[in-house]
Amino acid sequence: MTQTAPIIASGKGEFRPPDPDGFRAYIRDHKDRRLVSKLVTDKEAVSRFVSDGDYLAYDLNIAARGPGSLFREIIRQKKKDLWVMAKFTWTDVSLLIAGGCVSKVDVGWMEFGPVLNRAVKDGSVKLIEWSNGALAYRLLAGSLGVPYLPMRYLGGTDTFEQSGAVLTEDPYTHQPVCAVPALNPDVALIHAHQADMYGNTRVFGAGVSPVELAMASKKVIVSAEEIVDPIEIRKQPQRTTIPYYFVDAVVHAPFGSYPGSVQGLYTADLEQWLAFAAAGAMGKTDEYLEKWVYSVADHQEMLDRNVGAEKLQALRAADTLKEGYYD
């Protein structure tokens, strides 16, 4: 039982060395344990909690229940040098790249296209290879407060070679087993159905890993379709996805996932859903960003000026399968 466990192989992908005790010290010194209101505007949330050079992670993507309004605010505030987790993402990574915010991407899956291709070719954005599951699993490690976790995949592939995984030996079975380093993002964005002012958050429907993301991240920004009374949270404790003390900022963002959908609330705006990819293909991302980001002060103004109440009504009406989300 007590032999030594050699490192059999090791990927060469860049990653931040895990530091569970450093993370604990941050939590001890920076997270408020009290029930205090964390309600802020999208502007305030991003300026206070997203810094140049941060490792940025988010749950889902701009196609579905993603933090669309926060993506646009990050671009509006011209945040730089972000290391982005592309776990089960869509065009949101290209959007952030087009906005000049990104220097590194941990790849699980992302919708690709000219913007991404150019950035990779000219070297302005560096990619590190993982997979959707491996990135979620690294968040699990981060959420457990351990430096790494063993797992049963990644091994044997070029993905492994370009990742930060290692192939080691299980101290119990002495079989080869992969291990991945814990990931503790600097800042997490989570778009939710409901939250109270303290940060108690409810996400409905299937998802990727909002719980582990919130637990593993130093700073957590929740944007919510609806702000609910704290007593409602306490009356149904089993509906809570994330308890308040993990959350630093709560932004009230109706249609925050636009142009994406939020299950149980509204469908995607198909036309605009595809507009950014189209703009990329035509080399017109600047025009896209001007219209949807720079020319509007915030998310609400974007909705008012570029979408309109009628369209929003229609998107709500088009989501006809609400069964199971709010009950």
Binding site: N132, G133, T159
Partner: protein, 282 residues
């Protein structure tokens, strides 16, 4: 040449591949399907026609949904594809279900596949650092191809897709093909690619050498034509099987209920065949 009296049938290679895979779906197995798109359509076609009670999971954490047909125009992130699941949970949970051995089949699409079923979804051409064309990455394919018992891979029969060496092995097949190669890499025992499915041909793998083997071809092509479309020469099954002709009813089903928008299935090469003989119509 074909009897000009016979009716003809036109379909895309994607439609044919969906028809082939749909016939493999069994109610007593569990499936792990990658994202929305053709693989999910193939599974749902099988559920609609042959195995209504079949259980499957998708990466974003829906367990055994029972979507209504016709399927929504845009499946990614639509509540329609998660409808009437037995559980809504997370990616981490369904990945664990696969790690535990509950997922019999993984259903995936690939850009490139090699002799041993290793496949690529990362980049094509050039080098890793200077790729000619970058793609979106493995997504969930690596964990699915590693942890499900058997993997079914959809792709197109083209020389640039059936290659001697993948430009990048995003997800594992039998690696170098040697016995125990996957186990030595830390992957679960006795797993690996099972079928590679294209419109014109279906492939399996030799139990010992793990080399890809041509098992069946469509009536509108031949073994030689198939092999001519591959960069490497696969093993050839002693008894060559015949893929079924997509039925008119099946194609109607795909176009009306599986992909009503046509956004997925109408892409790709169109084939027109003699509906009786199954031969290509010039």
């Amino acid at each position: 040449m074909t009897d000009s009296e016979n009716p003809t049938l036109s379909f895309t290679d994607t439609e044919a591949t969906i028809c082939h895979i749909s016939k493999m779906i069994q109610e007593d197995k569990l499936y792990f399907v990658q994202m929305a798109g053709a693989p999910l359509m193939a599974l749902l076609m099988g559920k609609r026609l042959y195995a209504p009670g079949v259980g499957y999971v998708v990466e974003e954490g829906a367990v055994c949904p029972d979507p209504e047909f016709p399927l929504p125009r845009m499946m990614l992130g639509s509540s329609g594809v998660h409808f009437r699941a037995v559980q809504w949970t997370s990616m981490l949970m369904v990945d664990s279900h696969a790690a535990l051995g509950f997922m019999d089949y993984g259903l995936l699409a690939a850009l490139q596949v090699d002799r041993f079923g290793n496949f690529n979804s990362t980049f094509i051409g050039g080098t890793y650092d200077k790729p000619e064309r970058r793609f979106g990455g493995p997504g969930g394919a690596n964990e699915i191809a590693s942890q499900c018992w058997r993997t079914i891979i959809m792709t197109k029969l083209q020389k640039r897709k059936f290659v001697e060496r993948c430009d990048f092995v995003s997800s594992p097949g039998y690696l170098d093909g040697t016995p125990g190669a996957r186990e030595r890499a830390g992957l679960p025992a006795d797993t690996g690619p099972w079928r590679i499915v294209t419109a014109e041909a279906m492939f399996g793998f030799d139990d010992t050498t793990h080399e890809m083997r041509l098992d069946a071809v469509a009536p509108w092509t031949t073994v030689d034509e198939v092999v001519a479309q591959m960069e490497f020469r696969p093993l050839i099954a002693d008894e060559m099987g015949a893929l079924q002709i997509p039925g008119e009813d099946e194609l109607r089903m795909i176009r009306s209920e599986i992909d009503p928008s046509g956004l997925t299935v109408s892409k790709g090469e169109w084939v027109t065949i003699d509906a009786v003989t199954g031969k290509k119509v010039a």
